[in-house]
């Protein structure tokens, strides 16, 4: 019987010839990603487990990104602990503030993600690495400590759901619009705790940036992991970054899927998730009367070059609405530099936007742009839960970078297509 990518990876990692949905396996862990919440969090479980030395079989990558730069003394203590942990265990892949960025961008960017690997981290958006054909999933700190300390962890092999996306779209429709559309269309019962495998012509042509956005947003769909079959686009991106040989993995033609769903998105309009859940999705057109106080462009979902470029195209020679604060957070130092080279940061600054260093702060309501009661924010990030970006009485709308940029100019939620058309972009 054929296997899906996810089943193949978990079988290989468990030293088995095969694995099937529902089976409980104990998989060897290839890579553990840690950040400045996870590293302090694993200290107690690691100590209680009695782990002195980390197993050499696991590649460990530490990327402080949530509370950076430290907004409080408590956060500074956690960052110090994180730094000291990296030193103590001689972890080479430690990315200090100013040298890394948001973990889910830095991981593939610095070559720590390869097709076919098992990658875990104490962060729900670890699913992002599925964009490169890895089995990657978020865990709590106890699971992470076990994976790190013992090098193995049990998994119940998730049933795979194949999501095929066809059609023809212009650049005005981004991977974020596709993600939000899927959040609306897929019922949580059908995808909760499943492996989502994305395919179809839209995905095959999608850039690495777009695939990462989609696999990141799979966490909001409730997926355990998400995966795109590695292809030339994947290998082209990785070959400059990964120093060891690359191989690929793909699902068998007779692989068993719990369900297959197919969408033609040729007529898809810009999408927006209304408060208070990412699945409460409408078209941007329907929400155009909503006034905003803040616009946020960034996060592990949409802080990449493609996102900054399209936002800059819209913001060029424009001004952010007088009643709106626009915050821009490039997802990594590499992206920050590239955006600087391309003149994008200048466009944002001239438009009246505030550019932060790479951090998760704004997205998760940790620091650098919290909302007051009654305020409304349009955000390119991933969650609009109650209280997510500050006050429980604030409201967050989730949309694409283009929609965020157009809305920042208009002072209300705004469909970006007309502005893009004027700029000759379709």
């Amino acid at each position: 019987m054929g296997m899906t990518i996810t089943e193949k990876i978990l079988a290989r990692a468990s030293g088995q010839r095969s694995s099937a949905a529902g089976e409980i396996v104990e998989a060897n862990i290839d890579v553990v990603m840690l950040h400045d919440i996870g590293t302090p969090g694993i200290q107690n479980p690691l100590k209680e487990l009695g782990v002195e030395k980390l197993p050499s079989s696991v590649e460990v990558v530490i990327i402080p990104d949530h509370f950076v730069p430290a907004p409080t003394v408590k956060a500074a203590e956690n960052l110090k602990l994180t730094r000291e942990f990296a030193k103590k265990h001689n972890i080479k892949s430690y990315y200090e503030l100013g040298r890394g960025g948001i973990c889910h961008q830095v991981m593939p960017e610095k070559g720590h993600v390869k097709p076919g690997q098992v990658i875990v981290g104490p962060d729900s958006h670890t699913t992002t690495y599925g964009a490169f054909g890895a089995y990657a999933t978020g865990l709590g700190v106890t699971d992470t400590a076990i994976a790190l300390g013992i090098g193995k962890l049990w998994f119940k092999v998730p049933p795979s759901v194949k999501v095929v996306i066809r059609g023809k779209t212009g650049v005005a429709i981004s991977a974020k619009d596709v993600s939000l559309f899927l959040l609306k269309e897929l019922s949580s019962e059908d995808v909760l705790n499943r492996a989502l495998e994305f395919g179809g012509e839209i995905i095959e042509k999608m850039s690495v940036d777009g695939r990462m956005c989609l696999c990141d947003m799979a966490a909001e769909m409730g997926a355990e992991n998400s995966v795109v079959s590695p292809d030339n686009i994947t290998l082209e991106y990785l070959k400059e970054r990964v120093k060891t040989p690359l191989s690929t993995v793909s699902s068998d033609a007779d692989a068993v899927y719990e369900r297959k769903v197919e969408f033609d998105i040729s007529s898809l309009e810009p999408q927006i998730a209304c408060p208070p859940t990412p699945s409460n999705v409408k078209t941007v057109k329907e929400m155009e009367r909503v006034k905003i106080d803040q616009a946020f462009l960034g996060s592990c979902t949409n802080g990449r070059m493609e996102d900054l470029r399209i936002a800059a195209q819209i913001l060029k020679n424009e001004r952010v609405h007088p009643d709106v604060r626009l915050i821009i957070t490039p997802a990594s130092q590499e992206i920050y530099l590239q955006a600087m080279k391309e003149g994008l940061l200048e466009i944002f600054a001239k438009a009246g936007g505030a550019i932060t260093s790479p951090t998760c702060g704004v997205c998760f309501g940790g620091h650098s742009g919290l909302l007051a009661p009654g305020e409304v924010c349009i955000s390119s990030s991933n969650r609009n839960f109650i209280g997510r970006m500050g006050s429980p009485k604030a409201e967050v709308y989730l949309a694409s970078p283009a929609t965020v940029a157009a809305s920042a100019i208009e002072g209300r939620i705004s469909d970006p297509r007309e502005r893009l058309r004027k700029g000759g972009i379709r």
């Binding site: 409980i24 919440i37 978020g138 709590g140 700190v141 909760l192 309501g365 940790g366």
Partner: protein
């Protein structure tokens, strides 16, 4: 392993940011975490709960972030079990790992009302609704998960396993 307490009911879409807001992620102190449990929709939840109480919850309880403090905060607030139809996997694993039983039972939430007194027998797969005088059977948890719960969480469980493999 038996649990006895009063029931608190919650509806659908109680996500991790409601159970434990992001601004408290700097802390891993369980007693401190307990003070912020359910803060997104309720203040002083930990003062209202009595040790042994059980949550009966709707769809997607614990969806969103991988933050283990969500499960930890509930446990240290006094919650001894969470019963729902199906849990998002990360919350489920976190709950078991911190020693908080998470039970997935279809159709259960219509059978139990707020403030009902119930007794859960994890080994037998039985919930006795002492208020209504009704029994509900469920498929017991897999043995190794029961073992994790009996040992008080994944850390003692794995520690014991490491110890055994060393003495072999």
């Amino acid at each position: 392993m038996k649990i006895r307490g009063r029931v608190w009911k919650y509806g659908d879409e109680i996500d991790t940011d409601i159970i434990y807001p992001g601004k408290y992620l700097v802390s891993f102190d369980p007693l401190e975490a307990a003070k912020h449990a359910m803060e997104g929709i309720e203040t002083d939840f930990y003062k209202k709960i009595s040790k042994g109480d059980v949550l009966v919850v709707g769809k997607n309880f614990g969806s969103g972030s991988a933050r283990e403090q969500a499960a930890l905060a509930l446990k240290y607030a006094g919650v001894e079990a969470v019963i729902g139809e199906i849990f998002p996997r990360t919350f489920y694993r976190n709950a078991i790992n911190v020693g908080l039983p998470a039970l997935e039972i279809k159709g259960i939430k219509d059978q139990i009302d707020e403030k009902d007194e119930i007794e859960i027998d994890l080994d037998q797969g039985l919930i006795r609704n002492l208020t209504k005088g009704k029994d509900h059977h469920f498929t017991p948890l897999p043995p190794f998960i029961l073992e994790i719960l009996k040992m008080g969480g994944a850390v003692p469980y794995y520690k014991n396993r490491i110890g055994k493999s060393k003495t072999k």
